[in-house]
Amino acid sequence: MAFSSKHRRYLSLVAAWSAGLCVFLAACGKSEQEGAPAAPEVEDRQSVGVSLLTMQHQFYQELRRGLEDAAKEAGLRLVIVSAEFDPTRQANQVDEFIVRKVAAIVVCPCDSRSVGASIVAANQAGIPVFTADIANNSSLGKVVSHIASDNVAGGKEAAKLLAAAVGGRGSVAILSHPEVASVSDRVKGFKEQIASYPEIRVAAELSAEGKRDKAVKVMEDLLQAHPDLAGAFAINDDTALGALAAIESAGKAGRIQIVGYDATPEAREKIAKRVIYGDVIQNPRRIGELTIRAIADFFAGRTPPAVIPVEVGVFTGDQRNP
């Protein structure tokens, strides 16, 4: 059997593909390794593995920046990966950190209950674990410190904002995401505080899964079910912006007040235009900084507190002050 020209064309195509890919892979590897010392094993033992919930949300991009800036100052090397909401991928990432024998692991859990077994595995390998933003609520595993916003206080602030927005009366809705513990805390704080306004009623509590497209649909349904709705508390800004889109396309802009959470730049614009009333602000960068500080404390032989709450604030633009 000899090569036909067709065969030869195919072989050369494949060869070109493979060669291109090797170069590409090498380039990926190189750009990450530049400037790093040559002994990777030692390097891993001095580095901190970070498994983020996602890199797609601005909140986590800010948190990451906080981690990176503080780590540079503290002289720590970070290995940052993201689980993108997949608990399985997160478990695999923690396993990989354990194999690499990193000095400490930071987890922003995809799920507060499903993260336990991974923390146990790290504990068994003698690697200290820190959680940031979302806590480990399973009965398994030991965490050195949990660094997160004071979400119950944040929920209360949101209730105060929304009460002011609707003038202390009417029915309001909660667009929640109950799978996430920090969100449950926000909703808990919100309900506690809103109960102190006798003329405000919580008409509905529905999950928009923290996603904008889902929030549009949920808000559309709410507008049908509760035509008298006066306001809504959205547990994050993606949800708030989704709800706003639904309200605007229903021609009810300005008649239903929204309070969001996080004050992303896009939400700030809407607040400046007065279509979102206001936001509770977390300080993700600060969460990152305090996480690194806790790790540095731990390495220095001190015992950081088990829970490190990070203060929240409110953002209503310059023109108003609640």
Binding site: A2, K6, Y10, L11, W17, V79, S114, V115, A117, S118
Partner: protein
């Protein structure tokens, strides 16, 4: 000269999967400064692929009949949650009994859902894509409904060994994770089933030419249904093992697994048009994808670039496979 060439070509064609895998292993080792080759890391890679690998063997049977099963990821979530709830409800019972009940529940739920999808496909001639799209949605929703959206985590401590433990640890050390042994055992059994049993040959016959298979007296409907039952069973097994890995029955798991599993099968050389495929190819395909994910992580390639690289490599592997197959003497 021509003779030598044809020998080389014949060898390349027959051994194309190991060649692709070998090239990837060498590239990975070099690019990670040997970190990839450390035994702990290799054990870890095998453990990571064991869950999806298990399902990929069943998917090979499905795809060889010319079908597809989109419900596998959701089914892992559903069987995992169902097993976790069963184990949780028996809080007072002996731990060994609880674990056994967990396995039984997952396997029953997996097989029956697979049977339902298979029956719809075989009896009503609904395209497998649509039928399993339906079961995918139903199973995912059911998983969330069963546990009210909250992962079930009051599980017996003895379960953890099945997801994170090692077989014969005193003798072998931490070399053979329990889920890897289960995957390799399933591989061995299904390899024999595929190549040496009447059922295995019927699967190929149905996928090669359904009409001819029917006219030859092969029970086409029963064969089609059986492959979905098999995949459902393996999803149940993966579901309960995954409970053990996370020590929680989480309704969110298995997102996109259907595509990862199909990718492993196709990279392994099985034709999406049916009639042609191997179980061994699927094992190698799963390892290729696992190795790739792992070495990209070890190289600390940025998350979004990883997706790009993974997509390109799947494409390159398929092209290489297609090109080498074209050289095969007819």
């Amino acid at each position: 000269m021509t003779r030598v060439r044809s020998v080389v070509v014949a060898w390349l064609v027959a051994g194309r999967m190991p060649v692709i895998l070998g090239a990837l292993l060498i590239t990975s080792s070099v690019l990670t400064d040997g970190r990839f080759l450390r035994i702990e890391n290799l054990v870890n890679v095998m453990r990571q692929i064991s869950f999806e690998g298990l399902i990929a063997f069943g998917m090979t049977f499905v795809i060889v009949t010319g079908g597809i099963d989109l419900s596998v990821g959701s089914l892992v979530a559903l069987t995992g949650v169902a097993a976790a709830l069963a184990m949780q409800s028996l809080a007072e019972a002996d731990p060994a009994v609880r674990v056994a009940v967990g396995f039984a529940t997952a396997l029953i739920v997996g097989t029956s859902t697979g049977a339902a999808a298979g029956a719809i496909i075989a009896r009503f001639a609904i395209p497998p894509f649509i039928a399993t799209l339906a079961t995918m949605l139903v199973a995912r929703g059911a998983a969330f409904i069963l546990c009210d959206g909250q992962p079930v985590h009051e599980l017996p401590g003895e379960l953890m060994w099945w997801g994170r433990g090692f077989v014969l640890e005193p003798v072998l050390g931490q070399r053979l994770p329990a889920p890897v042994l289960i995957m390799l055992a399933s591989y061995a059994v299904l390899l024999v089933v595929f190549r040496r049993t009447v059922f295995g040959r019927r699967v190929v016959a149905v996928g090669s030419n359904e009409q001819a298979a029917y006219l030859s007296g092969i029970p086409v409907r029963a064969t089609k249904m059986a492959v979905y039952v098999l995949t459902g069973l393996l999803c149940g097994l993966a579901g309960v093992l995954h409970d053990a890995k996370l020590m929680a029955g989480d309704p969110k798991v298995g997102e996109m697994w259907e595509l990862n599993v199909i990718a492993a099968v196709v990279v392994g050389g099985t034709s999406l048009f049916g009639g042609r495929g191997t179980v061994t190819g699927t094992l190698i395909g799963a390892i290729i994808i696992g190795v790739l994910n792992n070495s990209l992580n070890l190289m600390e390639v940025e998350h979004f670039w990883q997706k790009v690289v993974l997509g390109l490599v799947i494409l390159a592997a398929s092209l290489l496979d297609a090109a080498l197959r074209r050289l095969e003497p007819q």
